[in-house]
């Protein structure tokens, strides 16, 4: 029932939208390879007249961008593994086992997980300072795991619900324990859910700024967002270095997104469908 006009209007809207998304990325990329004089030239050069990779060198040699990347990778990967391990067990329990009041608990957890970070930052800072954990990996890994746990439990619960319940009974008949049933039978069947939960946790940990800024501000413990926000130039904003670092940190995530796009989208929409 789609008229030709509808499709043409659709194309126009869609292409304008895609261009609007991509243009700022183009601008960032070309700025990162312009020399400083050209970065602050007016009128701006829409295509670089001179190419240079000096900003990439500055980011890694003069600034500690390599260390920021290492910190971000460690924090994001550890948080992701903790979330997967704990949330898959909890998701299975909520989906398949009789637990009194589990629905209420689940909804309460989801609400807590969308609270603004400002709600917990001051007390966590006080606690971390008391145990001398400021400027440490665990200062970020533990809160990131906690904040991403509820959504991961929710996604995984939806996937566990899709596995036929008869499998659960059958495994029990064969004498498998509940945990064996979960680990040997259900977990392999919910791999897409695990991928989705993993990407969500990884991206959230990779992009988080507020806690990273407050808890880990010493130069060698900064994650990428804090490092980029605190890059400082001698005279003005060092946009060349900032965008060189940005380009490097965007690439791995873009690859991740391209590989896992199907599961990310189904994970995002599963919440809407089964809510």
């Amino acid at each position: 029932m789609k008229t030709k006009r509808q499709v043409i209007v659709g194309y126009v809207v869609l292409i304008l939208f895609l261009v609007a998304i991509l243009l700022p990325f183009y601008w960032m990329l070309v700025t990162s390879i312009k020399p400083d004089l050209e970065i602050s030239a007016y009128p701006p050069t829409l295509f670089p007249h001179h190419w240079t990779f000096i900003h990439y060198a500055t980011a890694f040699q003069q600034d500690n961008f390599g260390i920021y990347i290492r910190n971000s990778v460690i924090v994001a990967i550890c948080s992701t593994f903790i979330v997967l391990a704990l949330a898959s067990m909890a998701g299975f329990a909520v989906a398949r086992l009789p637990i009194p009041g589990k629905k209420t608990v689940l909804i309460a957890l989801l609400i807590i997980s969308v609270f603004p970070e400002i709600a917990v930052i001051a007390p966590l800072y006080v606690l971390l300072r008391d145990v001398n954990w400021l400027n440490s990996y665990q200062a970020l890994i533990i809160p990131y795991s906690a904040f991403n746990m509820p959504f991961a439990v929710w996604i995984l619960r939806n996937y566990f619900l899709e596995v036929p319940g008869a499998l659960f009974e059958a495994a029990k008949m064969d004498g498998a324990s509940v945990f064996q049933t979960f680990y040997r039978i259900f977990l392999p069947l919910t791999r897409p859910g695990l991928f989705a939960a993993a990407v969500f946790t990884f991206v959230a940990s990779w992009t988080e700024f507020f806690m990273a800024l407050v808890f880990n501000s010493s130069d060698t413990m900064r994650t990428i967002p804090v490092g980029i926000a605190l890059f400082s130039g001698q005279y003005s904003e060092p946009y060349g270095t900032i965008f060189a670092g940005s380009v490097v940190s965007i690439l791995p995530i873009v690859i991740l997104v391209i590989i896992f796009r199907k599961w990310i989208v189904s994970g995002l929409t599963a919440g809407a469908v089964k809510g």
Binding site: Y42, P116, I118
Partner: protein, 315 residues
């Protein structure tokens, strides 16, 4: 068989509502949920309660750490009489409402476009997921370079098109700073809204549309009588996620405007951050944070009750 009968025979039954369950299943369920629950309670619920205590206290920072003395409503009393606090409250509320409203309208338009075109769908999804996965600090730096008053490309484009006659320092005036911040937010998060709405659109059966067009309905009627009502769940979900996120907005003003000029773009999170970590007023800062949580809770409850009535209507 014999073994499992024995296992189940020894097991006590446990009753919930009209159903009977095995007690062993319940116990292992609780055991499997416990680690996740424990982490969440320790790192989110407990700190929130601690925040509440600090918000009613005078918090002194000494060589031996933080010392907390309860002092009743004093911090809240200061807030209620502070113009700075109310400015942040109103800024955060209208910032959240305006950005989410624009994102929903734009998101709906684009989701319908993608749905109608049908090609380019997988390309669009990848492109849309890039801003979703982008570090907000990076997008804020990107926009601050675009908005720059001396060599920013936005001024160049607008002057070339004869829309402006002289360059504008976009983040230097309170009205343009607020708008600049909203545009940056809308650019980054509209794709998320599109993905949620597109998921909802794909669930609507084509038969409804065929029947409506058969009956001579026009496109406008079809949108308002079929698409919109059937999408209400997805719209509410996207709106709730986004409003709650916008309520905690911090990264974007921190990098793009620093909360300024003056306090024009000082969100509640920015204000709390300043009270806590610049002025080291942990009691006052906590009361700003707790009041934000209360507002967020109210919003959640409003959305949840709206959801419930949607479900009861059978929508």
């Amino acid at each position: 068989m014999a073994q499992s009968e024995q296992v189940m025979g020894n097991d006590q039954k446990w009753r919930a509502g009209r159903k009977y369950f095995l007690r062993s299943d319940r116990n292992s369920g609780i055991r499997m949920m416990a680690p996740a629950l424990l982490v969440i309670l320790l790192v989110t619920l407990f700190p929130i309660l601690y925040s509440v205590v600090m918000s009613f206290s005078h918090v002194a920072i000494t060589d031996n750490g933080f010392q907390i003395h309860l002092q009743g409503f004093k911090n809240y009393n200061i807030l209620i009489h502070s113009g700075i606090y109310w400015h942040s409250v109103w800024f955060t509320i209208y910032y959240a409402l305006v950005t989410v409203f624009v994102e929903l309208v734009l998101g709906m338009l684009i989701a319908l476009a993608i749905h109608n075109v049908e090609r380019l769908k997988s390309v669009s999804l990848v492109v849309m997921l890039i801003p979703w996965s982008l570090i907000t600090v990076i997008s804020a730096e990107m926009w601050s370079y675009i908005y720059n008053g001396v060599y920013g490309v936005l001024n160049y484009v607008l002057i070339s098109l004869h829309i402006l006659s002289s360059p504008v320092t976009w983040t230097g005036h309170s009205v343009t700073a607020v708008i600049s911040m909203m545009v940056a937010d809308i650019w980054k998060t509209t794709p998320f809204v599109v993905i949620i709405l597109l998921g909802g659109l794909q669930m609507i059966s084509k038969e409804y549309y065929e029947a409506a067009y058969m009956d001579g309905a026009n496109r406008w009627q079809v949108f308002w009588k079929i698409t919109f009502p059937l999408l209400r769940g997805s719209i509410a979900l996207a709106a709730m996620f986004r409003v709650l996120q916008a309520f905690g907005v911090f990264d974007l003003p921190y990098v793009l405007t620093g909360g300024g000029p003056g306090r024009a773009t000082q969100s509640l999170a920015m204000l709390a951050d300043q009270a806590l970590f610049t002025n080291l007023h942990f009691g006052l800062g906590s009361s700003v944070a707790v009041s934000t949580v209360v507002m967020v809770l109210v919003i959640c409850l409003l959305f949840l009750s709206a959801f419930r009535s949607l479900v009861e209507e059978g929508a």
